[in-house]
Structures are given as C-alpha cells and as structure tokens.
C-alpha cells in the first residue's frame, strides 16, 4: 500500500510565492534591452528552480543546480557578455516582418497544448512521493541508480565533458600565421611606409586645420573637406581654394643637416 502524497501548506505557499516571480523574471529576460539584465534575470529563475528542486525532495539536484547552472554556466555567460560588450543591446523593433506575431501565436499555442497534455498525463495518477525512494538519503539513492542502471550513459556523458573542453580550447585558439612584429619592427614599418604622415602615429582630430582662412575648407581626419567649413557664397563665386595643396605630402620634408 503506497502512502499517498499530500502537499503540505508550507510547500504550497512557497510555490505560489516563487512561481509568479520566476515567470515574471523569465518574461523580463525576454523583454529587457540590455543583455546583462537578461543574464541576471535568468540567474534568478535558476535559483528559483533550485529552491523548487529542494522542496521536491531532490536536494542533491537543487544544490547542483545552484553550483553548476547558476554558478558556472551563468557566470560564463556573463564573462562572454563582458567580452562582447556590456553595453550591447538590441533594438526592440523587429526587422523580419510578421515574425513577432507569428512567434507569439505559435508559442502560446504550444504552451497551451503542452499544459493540456501534461494535465492529461497525470490524470488518474496519484502522486507517490519520494519517501521510500529517498529512504537511505537522496544522494545514496541517486548513486545507486547512477552506477547501476545508468552507468553507461554516465560514462558517455563524462566523455562528452572531456570532448566539450577540448572543443572549447580548439575554438578559442588563435594561431598566428606570421610572427608577431616586435616594437622595433613596428617602428621601422611606420617610417618606411609611403609617406611620413603616419610616422608618429595617427594625429588626433582637428590637427590638419592649417589655416583659419575663410576660403580654405577645414579637413576632417580622413582628409575630406568638412562641409560645415565651406562658405556657400564663396563657393558660388568660385573662390574656394583646394586644401589639398596644403597637405603634408606636398611639403618639402628633406632634412637639412645642421652643422
């Protein structure tokens, strides 16, 4: 005779408090602009789930959830986000037409069907509870199963872990095809290039404003004249000079040795 499980009051209260919070956090993860906010909200969802696991007599799993998932996986996510750019954010407007409504409809339909299916799956089935299965402790019970019935998948999964680690290493490895130029070599390259314009490194903005005359346009850092510095009347009259003649290349740069 199996003892029937009845859910106690505290567990119900816990559920009804945390479940809406987790749903809200998931929705928020979906809707916020900044990716870092999404990551943090997901972490909250995972902690909620860990609490649920512990409440459902899956203590080991709950702790593993916190350590592995929240601790390792979410932190990994955050590291990568920092690598990519903490400020990276998506615009919320949709580029593919009609994607959003179809997606929401399909997903809501999916959700509804899943709910109905799951409800049907437990129809007429009384929950048994894990009292007996956990009789020698949750960890022992898991271990007994893990190393007897599921030992082969266990080995395969461990092989998978090793493979994943190797894969990450291979993907992250960046092999240079030619040796990295040293400081000396970099300096020589700078001076031996076509013009001395870049010898001292790229100038800052506004450096090429050689004249403040009205008829010479100011240059932007890439050499094109700045439109806002050209007088419209002078241009109409044709009196605007070409600022190219004042480029550094046309200046005589031979060095006269001083005796």
């Amino acid at each position: 005779m199996q003892p029937l499980l009845t859910i106690q009051g505290p567990e119900a209260a816990l559920f009804w408090f945390l479940a809406p919070l987790s749903v809200a956090a998931a929705l928020g993860m979906l809707l916020v602009k900044k990716a870092v906010h999404s990551a943090l909200l997901l972490a909250w969802v995972m902690i909620t789930l860990a609490i649920f696991y512990i409440a459902q007599d899956a203590a080991f799993l709950g702790v593993v959830q916190v350590i592995v998932y929240t601790g390792a996986v979410m932190m990994l996510f955050l590291f990568i986000l920092m690598l990519v750019g903490v400020d990276s954010s998506d615009s919320l407007t949709e580029t593919i037409t009609g994607l959003r409504p179809i997606a929401i409809t399909a997903a809501v339909g999916l959700g509804g069907l899943l709910v109905s299916l799951l409800g049907r799956a437990t129809l007429g089935r009384e929950p048994i509870g894990l009292e007996i299965a956990n009789s020698s402790g949750n960890v022992e019970g898991l271990a007994a199963l893990l190393f007897s019935t599921y030992v082969f998948p266990f080995e395969v999964v461990s092989a998978l872990l090793i493979t994943a680690a190797l894969g990450a290493m291979v993907l992250a490895h960046h092999q240079r095809t030619n040796p990295r130029p040293s400081q000396r070599e970099q300096a020589i390259n700078r001076f031996r290039s076509g013009s001395l314009a870049g010898a001292a490194g790229l100038p800052g903005p506004g450096v090429f404003a050689r004249h403040n005359a009205v008829d010479v346009p100011a240059l932007l850092p890439d050499g094109t004249p700045a439109p806002s510095s050209i007088s419209a009347t002078l241009k109409a009259r044709g009196n605007v000079l070409d600022s190219g003649q004042f480029q550094l290349d046309n200046v005589d740069t031979t060095v006269v040795e001083e005796k």
Binding site: L5, G111, L118, L142, L171
Partner: protein
Amino acid sequence: MSLDNYLYLSAILFTIGAVGVVVRRNAIVVFMCVELMLNAANLTLVTFSRINGTLDGQVIAFFTMVVAACEVVVGLAIIVTIYRSRRSVSVDDASLLKQ
C-alpha cells in the same frame, strides 16, 4: 494544490524560452533562452520523478544538466569566434544563405 502546478509552470517557462529564441537578436540572449527551456524540462523531470516515486527522473535531469553545461561551453566558444571575425553578435547578420 497538486503537483500538476509544477508541470504547468514548466510549460509556461518553456513557452517563454521558445518565444525568446525566435524574437531576440543577440546571440547570447538566444542562448540563454535555450538554457531556460532546458531548465523547464528539468523541472518537469523532477516533478514526474516525485509523482512516480522513483529517482529515475532526477538522474535524467542530472544528465541533462551535464549536457547543457557542455553545450554552453562549446556554443559560447563559437560565438566568441564569430565575434572575432565579424565584430557582431547579431544573429541577423549571418544571413548569407538568403535565396
């Protein structure tokens, strides 16, 4: 309240994850939505193990976690590699297979 409520919660979380995969453009956020879906599935497994009175569900949930971890590792490495060459993590940019 019955244990079914846990199942409904997991279905809702799964749905939200599915929407997120389709709607978000940042590759890392998409990945996180996938993680959400995996977690929802784990919750279902644990609840069912409690209903059935055996620990098999928990063992499978455990394996799922391990596999998810491996997947995250490899997936994020790929994202980083793509980022290095394209300087962008938007999934819309990888549209070379457009007809």
